[in-house]
Symmetry: C2
Subunit: 341 residues, 2 copies
Amino acid sequence: MTTIRDVAQAAGVSRATAARVLSDPGLVAEATRKRVLEVVQQLGYTRNSVAASLRTTRTGRIIVTVPDISNPFFSRVIRGVEEAAQAAGYAVLLGDTRNEPAREEQYADMLNRREADGMIFLGPRLPSVLDRIRARDGSRAPIVNGCEFTPGLGVSSAHIDNAGAAFEVMDSLYTMGHRDIALVLGPADSPLTRDRLLGAQRAAAIRGLTGHLMLERGDFSIESGRRAAQALFARDARPSAIFCFSDEMAIGTLAAARNAQIACPAELSVVGFDDIDMARYVDPPLTTIRQPMAEIGRKAVELLIEILEGRQDVPLCVTLPHRLIIRQSVGKGPAIAETPE
Amino acid sequence: MTTIRDVAQAAGVSRATAARVLSDPGLVAEATRKRVLEVVQQLGYTRNSVAASLRTTRTGRIIVTVPDISNPFFSRVIRGVEEAAQAAGYAVLLGDTRNEPAREEQYADMLNRREADGMIFLGPRLPSVLDRIRARDGSRAPIVNGCEFTPGLGVSSAHIDNAGAAFEVMDSLYTMGHRDIALVLGPADSPLTRDRLLGAQRAAAIRGLTGHLMLERGDFSIESGRRAAQALFARDARPSAIFCFSDEMAIGTLAAARNAQIACPAELSVVGFDDIDMARYVDPPLTTIRQPMAEIGRKAVELLIEILEGRQDVPLCVTLPHRLIIRQSVGKGPAIAETPE
DNA sequence: TTGTAAGCGTTATCAG
DNA sequence: CTGATAACGCTTACAA
């Protein structure tokens, strides 16, 4: 391979000058610069990033891990991440952890090995191998959490107000006359599930309907939503509304309802979360909470870059706006239907 | 940061010995090894991969680019890629090119800069910056194409028989009595679209129905499928069956049909391609071609690793089996319905 | 404006 | 089995 040495030799300058032409051209005389660039072109020279990184201790890369790349919500967040990273001159290394702690650790360890400058972690758990870095750097550790937020960890995070959003959904369902509402939660260990559950419970408590809340657990996938709905339909008192913590689970719920000949929204209201592309195309179109997915990604990168640049005042937590999107999957509840004025 | 030097010093051995303990422990005496490992543990030493790569000229990474990460088909392929890569000791760097040539070039250039050992390219175009590598290495260039295949390029590829699969779909539609069939294609520049179109046209030609073929173009997204269907519904002679080159476009087509009050499968049959998770949950469940997505990914990695290991007999093209999955979105065509025996 | 030279942290070679 | 030493290719004081 051609190295900067070859370039320098061919251009009749020192290695230092040749290197300068590439990194800080302003320092080099016009004529020399031109000559060097010509040679670079001619020899097809490309800087060996490994050697450069060794010298500078910067890789220009950031690692981003997601629990599940096939989850359309995360794909959108990643879009935002890539956009912002690229604009700031960073390349994105994406890792799918499949929600397996071992894989999370593996990707996080890349940071220890200095394969990237920083890391954005989209998911519930913070890998333990990051402890070393955090012990060393404290709140200045180049680690940002996206979508989820665990207070007290000292790790910056970009997300929406999950509790508030869940509260809104429940409130609107109660207002529509629903009383027996089921929640299809996400994985048990996620702060996100916990927050949304808290918000929903608060709404129920205000109406004195805590006892009417039904819970099922899913893993955000379509299939888990379908199963949860089946389980709910098998209960003695079937809910009149199901609030799923992801659009995919809501779509699974719609499929289960169709299968059980339960009409939506006439007999059953369904609400999702995220507002993925598919949400508006299913039958009936899904009422859901829209998250600013790309913005979450962009913001996470922004936070990380501030940390990497050594800024002192990096906010610990950025809360972005969400919005309840009303479509046709929600109808009036039985309470209102049964007592017309 | 602690380096191998610190470890060596603390363990009272030379740097070389300390390094050996980590890379080839068999070469070191039991006692020494133990002592060194203890120190490693104690100091929390992690090998600096940048320095190691500089020396070995291997990064242990492979780059994988996809046209669109939010496309569920690609997510599944990536799953297979990660699985196989990890098993072989490689980390996967994922890049979303958003179908933009500039981004493709950018990721491909990472290979020139030696940021990874090889590259798997899922998509239609081979970035031009790879020419340098290919010029140098010829067919031994560490580049593999997945899903698509461009003959004559000398780049190995893993994929299904796209032409054959499309032929099967068309044949089954014709057998069901359909005559006026519309195709919703993918992007114009992709070999994959070209192959499927050829297969479909061959099936039409055999029946003498080439003139009855209607064509619309999409970009594999739901929305593009919806638009294509709308355009088809607006034609004078509406097709009785629509074959979309992706499940997502088929789902968009279903939505458009619902909107136009066209019953599926009674009045319109719809076929997709890929068999993504969602396919079985939509209404009606989608007839489609199942691709062995994970297997495509695994195979692509296998090919790449063979190249990286210097094997001479790396196959140029691996064709994996597909399967027509019959669900409820296809019904009898008007030709049969109108002429009962 | 340009050149000299000293590393960055690792691994490979070659003696011992 | 272990140690000394020389790279790998680049960047960056510092000197000229």
